[in-house]
Symmetry: D2
Subunit: 344 residues, 4 copies
């Protein structure tokens, strides 16, 4: 298996390099970057080391430009392309790769929203590839598994949607949500990407928390809403951690369902999902940091359910889920190459 | 004015020392501590310095034992006692001070809950001084102002209740809350006090967030509920900051109220409150860190209101509000001795 | 007294606004900013609040452009100008203010280095105002006190030099330093200023430490060396705190000096300095955070002295010392308007 | 291969569980804990997950008491015991394991100091097992490799000594150190262990740095000194990170050695060491976080060398090196089971 990464120098790109370099089914990786083309990968990211870096030998362990990447994709018969580029740039740069008959996993938002008018609202731009939209499969691994296994264009979900939906969807499937769903999410700062913006400086983010973009002013709210029948109220918050995400989700229960039934339904839903676990104790983001896991707890309070869901925004919320989708698509072991052990 | 602090070596005690030592109306302070009796105050807390420390000269700038503190309260005719002790210990140690005809501001929970059966539920113990409960005034400065001005026993509110209630009470007064109120709060770690507990270690709290004690499993939920007519759903979270607290509050609006009216009502409610401000932009905890302020923003979304409220758990959430209440009680300028300038 | 700030929107500018707005001798402040000209000050910096903001009323509580600032400086007869601009920009923008017969405190490096060839080496640019260099007084308050009292152009020292020199200069004065001085300093991230640079992002600075620019590759090494006779070896480090700086300083002692004598000399040197204290215990940066203090400890080890010095890079290391210098220059109480109480 | 861990619930124990559960040569692990005996391992540490946990099946995935551990060590023919216990407790609890003819890697200090009088000085207690001291091999993997391969009792080095010595020893071997060696080290808070101590609380360690125990007041100074001919001056500092350690090391060079020769010597020394790398750029602790690596840079300044060395105190500074030593002792691939990819 040969893999190619577009946009290798952002945080999700850097995590993809880590995951693919230690993936047992991947023999070769080409890492592309526009801004760092021709630079040594390890000079750019000194965290990288070990025998896995040999997989980058075909490009001299250097980043290649996107145009060179396209050329190499053809020459070396690359099997899969991961795009870790920003939205719109992603569809644009992927343009020529769509014809190469390979599998594309796009970590950007370009193919996530099935309704073009919703994309327009969320991103203030028309959807870049209306023609390909119907082919794209929404890559929420545990809920679109069968589609993902056959897809050649996978729209990898956003970090907030992954975190919230994995907790809410069992309830929707069971039909127990009575009315609105209130979602309060906390995100580590890496979720904002590696942009040199003043409001992302250490001095501007440490020792403080803040809510931002409540309701439909956050783009991910459209993506969450797309998968849900009930109206959501989504408020994200920035918290001073590098990686990690927590959502606390509240909704009223329809009558006629016991706590035991609901708990059982949740357990059963994820009984065969290696990465999603229903926990007795409320989970901390630390226990899933650096892993592809999502840990979820249930708390019942006067006919309401309060869910807490934790995941790592760069792993299950981005690059980890992308690799999980590759595993599903190519019939590898679902957990191949994906870390399971969280932090202390 | 002479002031006495019981429980001077916890975080709220340390903040009280800072505030009183620079308060223009206070001439003398006696700082009591059981564990550090007879130790030099500045040796214990090397952050303390400057001319304000001369106010502690009567005790040789040392902590005194609670029994010595009682003796000094009589001898030196202390005007006000602040208790920064844990609940139950507070009522117990204050016992002899109740007869001294001075003003007592109790920062513990011992006099906050008016219904003894609620105290029993929240603290798994009977209310310690049923006989004094009816005299105690709930010290939410902006809402019990007139009562506070006449009170000799002020039950200083908890940090979560202060933060949430200041945002919710205008809506309740205006009568716009239709049904349940969902409160998600984030708290800095100092809110848990200065106890040597494993789960409060730096290594156990840094680079992670976690929800804890949702619903009525957190004691403060009873205190918030006491002041509200609508059912609340309260979920606190621990975030890796020292000081600061944010609540995101959601509820459905009754019909018949315009956004403009509601905004105006909020502005008018706090027009003369020096510490509470309705902000256009969603506030960050940093802007109120180290101050007695509470900044609140309103966001409307499909006939629902989403409020964000920020304050410093050690200032407006504890010692700052205690000093504000002293200012009200003794007719001082309400802002005397209370910082207004937040952090960068 | 009327004061004017050039470069009000960087971190040192923001601290100057805080300090001057609560300074008892300052009645009016004009805050200038090129990038934020005409914006409301409190909109830019929501941490600002309280009666001190009335001092900005003459400009409608708005930032003014540098050219407007010059005009106002004349019209309103401003007494003092603080420049919190970057080096070179500072001398350039101050150009027209030099003729106004007022006191200028320049927080940039433009007038710190007395030898133009050293400036050239450190800043790779010729010294911008050779003609004014001889008039400038190096504003290390405790060591150039008498000069500062008469100076009309004060070159406010850098944060590293202030922190290190206050600890080393008594030893130099006493003549006990045998040979090289090894300085290892740790700095909070705000020391790097408010520039939107990738390597200053929260995600790039949290949960890590790094040494950088050892020896003469850091510009401040020239400034420290200028004040010392012995060769220094200076290694700065970035640590994940917002504000605060610590230097650990090592040198061999000449023979013939007892520990007691040396300790006494240090105590005596700063006996009348309100902001510098020789501590028994090794100080933490937290105890001086938000203050103009510098706390220093001495440790003797086999005829060597190891000093630890802590200060806040934005206060004693920049804006606080600038206000202290204003106090000295205008004959105010040296501690007027300067905080003394550190953090918990 | 079967492994047993004594003291599994401290930070080094928790890291050992992670490393052994994913080690390709280990089939079974017994995790012992006095305080958590009989508890489920994953309940105690919810970060643990994945197929590696099956290795703990023989004890029902529960911790066992030390006495049960001894019994199981015999019954199940354990090959290696890791002790992650505190000093003195370690030698005491290991007592009965010494007779079982298996390999013991002791992560405590009990066997590190070859001179019993030095142990007495450093730990204020006589060395616990004088009789076994001569058998113990100091487990600095890259420098005692051949001894480790034959040892049955390995004294795993401390985190500070590992970090500093890996940088200094090549210079000592080359004979270029002229006189004293000045070592300034910064350590993450996990280095202090998981003790519920007030001074290790988040609120007491965040947003601050402090030097502590300079010179021989830190126990590790004896361990570093033991391996060096030149006098050292060691000052450790606590910095607000969970994991990570950096040392900046300064010494004067003997004359007659060129920079090129020294650099070459450093490169050659570690040419075959998979975990130690001489870097061009000054390394950050983040690049080795979670790995067994130690990255070192050299900076020359006027005939002095300034070294910067980074490692993870819980990995190369403790449990990682312990596993590396196991790999050496049993002839496994030196990097087996040891992570190489650092953080972003």
């Amino acid at each position: 298996m040969k893999a190619l990464i577009l946009g290798s120098t952002g945080y999700t790109g850097q995590v993809l390099i880590r995951l693919l370099s230690s993936h047992p089914e991947i023999q070769e990786v080409i890492a592309s970057s526009n801004s760092k083309a021709d630079s040594l990968i390890q000079e750019f990211d000194p965290g990288l080391s070990g025998p896995g870096m040999e997989k980058f030998a075909s490009t001299g362990k250097r980043f290649v430009s996107p145009s060179k990447a396209l050329k190499l994709a053809k020459e070396r018969k690359v099997d899969i392309v991961f795009s870790a580029l920003p939205h719109l740039t992603s569809a644009e740069l992927l343009k020529d790769f769509f014809n190469l008959a390979l599998v594309i996993i796009d970590l950007s938002a370009d193919f996530r929203l099935r309704d073009p008018s919703v994309f327009q609202k969320a991103y203030s731009h028309e959807v870049p590839r209306l023609d390909l939209l119907s082919q794209a499969v929404y890559g929420l691994s545990e809920w679109y598994t069968e589609d993902i296994k056959k897809a050649d264009l996978i729209a990898n979900p956003g970090c907030y949607p992954t975190n919230a939906l994995l907790a809410i969807l069992p309830a929707q499937k069971m039909g127990i949500i009575k009315a609105s769903v209130v979602i309060n999410s906390l995100s580590g700062i890496s979720g904002a990407g590696k942009k040199a913006k003043e409001n992302l400086l250490f001095t501007e983010r440490s020792e403080r928390v803040v809510a931002y973009n409540p309701g439909t002013s956050h783009r991910h709210s459209y993506e969450i809403q797309q998968e849900l029948e009930n109206k959501i109220f989504f408020t994200p918050h920035l918290v001073p951690i590098i990686q990690g995400m927590e959502s606390t989700i509240w909704f009223e229960l329809k009558s006629g369902f016991s706590q035991t039934d609901i708990q059982k339904f949740y357990f059963d839903t994820y009984a065969n999902a290696p990465f999603v676990t229903i926990q007795e104790k409320i989970p901390s983001t630390s226990q899933v940091r650096g892993t592809n896991r999502c840990d979820i707890s249930l708390h019942f309070e006067e006919n309401h359910l309060i869910l807490s869901s934790v995941s790592d925004n760069l792993f299950k919320g981005a690059s980890g889920q992308a690799v999980q989708n590759m595993n599903l698509r190519f019939g590898f072991d679902e957990i191949a190459g994906l870390p399971m052990m969280g932090e202390l």
